[in-house]
């Protein structure tokens, strides 16, 4: 079945630095989504990417979908303490189900 791998599992970042989390699927995806889960909270939708090579930005967050629609990345610039949490990618193949990656847990040192 479909598998979505995500790295790194943990990211400890100095405030103000940039970081990237990567997602790879074993199969071609119809779309990919990104969610953020704050400690003790539930996943909250960030964005969906649908087109091959698509790039979307949300303030300091940049999301990319690979040309082959099998990988994606989330890049955060100038990390802030509000960026703390776990970031999940979730890929959808041909059906309606989302397969979540393992998540990247981000901690920030001031």
């Amino acid at each position: 079945g479909q598998q979505v791998m995500q790295i790194p599992q943990y990211q400890h970042v100095q405030e103000g630095e940039d970081f990237t989390t990567y997602c790879n699927s074993s199969t071609t995806l119809s779309n990919i989504q990104w969610y953020k889960q704050r400690p003790g909270g539930h996943p909250v939708f960030l964005i969906q990417l649908v087109k091959s090579g698509e790039v979307k930005k949300q303030k300091r967050l940049t999301f990319q979908f690979g040309e082959a629609k099998k990988n994606s990345s989330l890049h955060i610039t100038a990390t802030q303490t509000t960026d703390v949490g776990t970031y999940f990618c979730a890929g959808r193949e041909n059906d309606y189900k989302l397969s979540f990656g393992a998540g990247t847990t981000v901690t920030v040192r001031a």
Binding site: G1, N31, Q33, Y35, G41, H42, P43, V44, F45, I47, Q48, V50, F88, A90, Y96, K97, L98, S99, F100, G101, A102, G103
Partner: protein, 115 residues
């Protein structure tokens, strides 16, 4: 958007007992899902709750252990039966999805601890 109310938010149960989790949505939704999130882990889809018919279970999850009801388009329950400590997890109800963004909405989750 959809507002999801999930109850209980947390519970502590004895092994061998069962826990039923309720999920109430503020609008009619077609797709409703139940996920499990074990401590420090990702989200694993348990099943899709289908209105008026049996739920569709993912590999590794069976109806006897995780019976699901969906009597209408706004409500569903998940029961975790014959509890063991390995069932200690967060169980999340989710509904989808926004027609424009594809967003999947999640309830606050039910944190289950089995002693």
């Amino acid at each position: 958007s959809a507002v999801i109310s999930q109850k209980p938010s947390r519970d502590i149960c004895q092994r061998g007992t069962s826990l039923t989790i309720q999920c109430q949505v503020d609008s009619q939704v077609t797709m409703m899902f139940w996920y499990r999130q074990q401590p420090g882990q990702s989200l694993t889809l348990i099943a899709t709750a289908n209105q008026g018919s049996e739920a569709t279970y993912e590999s590794g999850f069976v109806i006897d252990k995780f019976p699901i009801s969906r009597p209408n388009l706004t409500f569903s329950t998940l029961t975790v039966s014959n509890l063991s400590p390995e069932d200690s997890s967060i169980y999340l109800c989710s509904v989808g999805w926004d027609k424009n963004t594809g967003e999947l909405f999640f309830g606050e989750g039910s944190r289950l601890t089995v002693l």
